[in-house]
Symmetry: C2
Amino acid sequence: MANEAFDFELIVLGAGSAGLGLALFMAKAKLSVLLIDKTAQDVGGDCLNHGCVPSKALIHAARQVHQSRQAARFGVQVSGAADLGRVMDYVQERQAIIRRHENPDYLREQGITVEIGEPRFVGPHDIELNGRTHRGRRLVIATGSRPRQLAVPGAELVAHYDNQHVWDLRQLPARLLVVGGGPNGVELAQAMQRFGAQVTVVHSDKQILEKEDPSISAVLLERLRGEGIDFQLEAKITAFSNANTAQVRHADGHETAVEFDAAYVAIGREVGFNGLQLEKAGVGLDAHGHLVLDEHLQTTNPAVFAAGDAANSLKFSHGAELHMRLLLFNFFSPIKKKLDYDHFSWVTFTDPEVAHFGLDAAELDKRGTAYERWETDFAADDRAVVDDYQYGRLLLFVEKNLLPGTKRRLLGGAMVAPGAGELVQELILANSSGLGVDALFDKIYPYPTAARINQALVVSQRDISPLTRLALDFAYKL
Amino acid sequence: MANEAFDFELIVLGAGSAGLGLALFMAKAKLSVLLIDKTAQDVGGDCLNHGCVPSKALIHAARQVHQSRQAARFGVQVSGAADLGRVMDYVQERQAIIRRHENPDYLREQGITVEIGEPRFVGPHDIELNGRTHRGRRLVIATGSRPRQLAVPGAELVAHYDNQHVWDLRQLPARLLVVGGGPNGVELAQAMQRFGAQVTVVHSDKQILEKEDPSISAVLLERLRGEGIDFQLEAKITAFSNANTAQVRHADGHETAVEFDAAYVAIGREVGFNGLQLEKAGVGLDAHGHLVLDEHLQTTNPAVFAAGDAANSLKFSHGAELHMRLLLFNFFSPIKKKLDYDHFSWVTFTDPEVAHFGLDAAELDKRGTAYERWETDFAADDRAVVDDYQYGRLLLFVEKNLLPGTKRRLLGGAMVAPGAGELVQELILANSSGLGVDALFDKIYPYPTAARINQALVVSQRDISPLTRLALDFAYKL
């Protein structure tokens, strides 16, 4: 390096999940760090401001409203729809609590230099911000992503929201159109239907949550239809003929119309680096406008890295966390780790939840890994019986070992059930720690916890072979 | 053995959790097994008929009723008390579903010989039942336990129920007196309060759930008091002066009266072997009337074993499961395992749930194990914030290692939080598989799952020492 005089050991562009984690660790290690975001309000990133935090608070409120109607079965009188204004008050109150630890002043108290503004590169190590230049030994682009916009004729006529603006709604639309049946679309669709809206979801694929195994997402679809949501699959909105009418083309070519009062758009996210002047730093983009990155999240400039949604991989808060951990490890270690999603997991926070971890069938087939597919419904599970969710389903991919007695690792799996996101945690731990399925077999579970289903599936796959039977008979009579 | 002609390889007295598991495995291994219970209805044991199954169904109904009142916050109109008759219909319907796999006919289809009646020993290997004698190579006493009766003057005047009879209630008592603040008492107390009864709990100890760490049970107590339950601790009922009045003596000696309409008695369980003629089999009892057992659950007759509540240890369904597994292992293995509760866990299914696993402070102190006590409240946990349970608490006991870099095992812990029974499952797995706390540190948790609190506590205990800081500084600048 020509000039070793750095103003900061690390400059982080973006104070979302990745940026906060990076800056907090650097400060804890007493290494100078500059954290930049556009506005003070943007600190916390999409997760706190528009994403996981408000949506999970909304889902909590929706679950309580739904449970209240279920309670009518036991004689309590329940009536009326939810007041969306009061729900949104709750959502904002929850955000305010988390913001106590995610705001510029708090971060400055932790030893981080925080600047607010629109940064741009002016050299390989140099960022210009509010008329000043800051030189960093290393820099991380963690500028996040934004919702993809609906490019359909007539969209400008329609009151439509995405995850950045839906939190401004104070009145429940009587009829809500949701565009997109991915995690974001179905979570909001269910919440709004539970509050009392009539929701229609238009989705291009033949299944909702198309990253999930069809046997898993089918269970959720049936539940959501049972709550009254109208799903139109393999369907596309071709135009809006007026503020309340969408034209929908179906797989077989015929067209129908959906009448609605407001629309929620959840058709994915996109990244962009406008204004960053990446070319001044020698940071390259590919033909799609994505950062060119190696498996260490390093850009074409060796001093500049990417993390979180800006790295254009799985767009989850904990994806940003994975990146953040990888970068910190590699910054401080002579041996560099590669980015690896083999133990990655995610949860869709519908009710029932859909949880997913490790490798799926497509990936295992691609790798040529020998595996078995183990699955069970929850019909005979005691907890599912007492808590009334016998519709649940668990799927595991287990290493196929030809040698008996060797450890059979858990390669991946998925679950759909109330609380599935928690019930799979021990499976994720087994997967990420390289435990064999025997570890689940050998555990004693408190009765009647819901996680017993994990063991039940493992136990059900243990057969007693004729040879084992002879050995057992002999041993028993000793 | 003088006479090798056995009618059955195993005879099991009692078709509860232990007995069913033993008989089903024997049948699967094609070894002849006789399973005996008093009545066809008793199959499934206390768990199915009077214990965990009906109580968890009741708790589910109570949670829905409680959630319905919570939903009023979001504008839904809710009024009235629950109809206990409808709740009990739900409870019985749930039991009927589980009974499909726990009844004589189903068990016979699995290859088990099932007899109904009152057995008694007539020799070391011999059971007489309904006028016939059956000789077993091995025999297991798994006859369970029964609720301890209230021995208080005037008890005969009072409409009182225990876990065997409370399921007959069809009308909610306006005022319910619960005697005993252990798991059984507090679970029922909360359910009944939520249905609309005014509940008073009288408990002899200074804390409820006295097997729990005081920091954990205090959180539950505060929540339950917040729901309106009147707890009288360090208090004893000395007499009932009439059908609706209990005299209560307090720690300081003063006496008060509690008015009530019905009483629920939850003062523990007792075992008894009346009618079994244990002396004919050379099966010994101690001064308390408990079976004399070695650490393999073997009685003073080498052919006779005990399992479940009859073995007079921790009285849980999954305790019976632990016994059942130990017996099966030892029956088929030349190396015998000893009974070991080091990784045992249990859950009290109140809301919030209280979960407990592994060794507690008292046991660790007794063993002289070096450990650290790590604990956190849930105030800053994102999931606790969005789902409104910032009162939660997690406690871990972690091995104290003087050598840096060595694995630090998780020795035990406890949690109070909604769903705690599920959230501790990965901790139980780490504990029972001998994983270090690093396995939790290294995991990537889907955001915002509740189980992240487990990692958060581990992370919070990692400090960067001045020496590490220097090393980090050096490594970063390489």
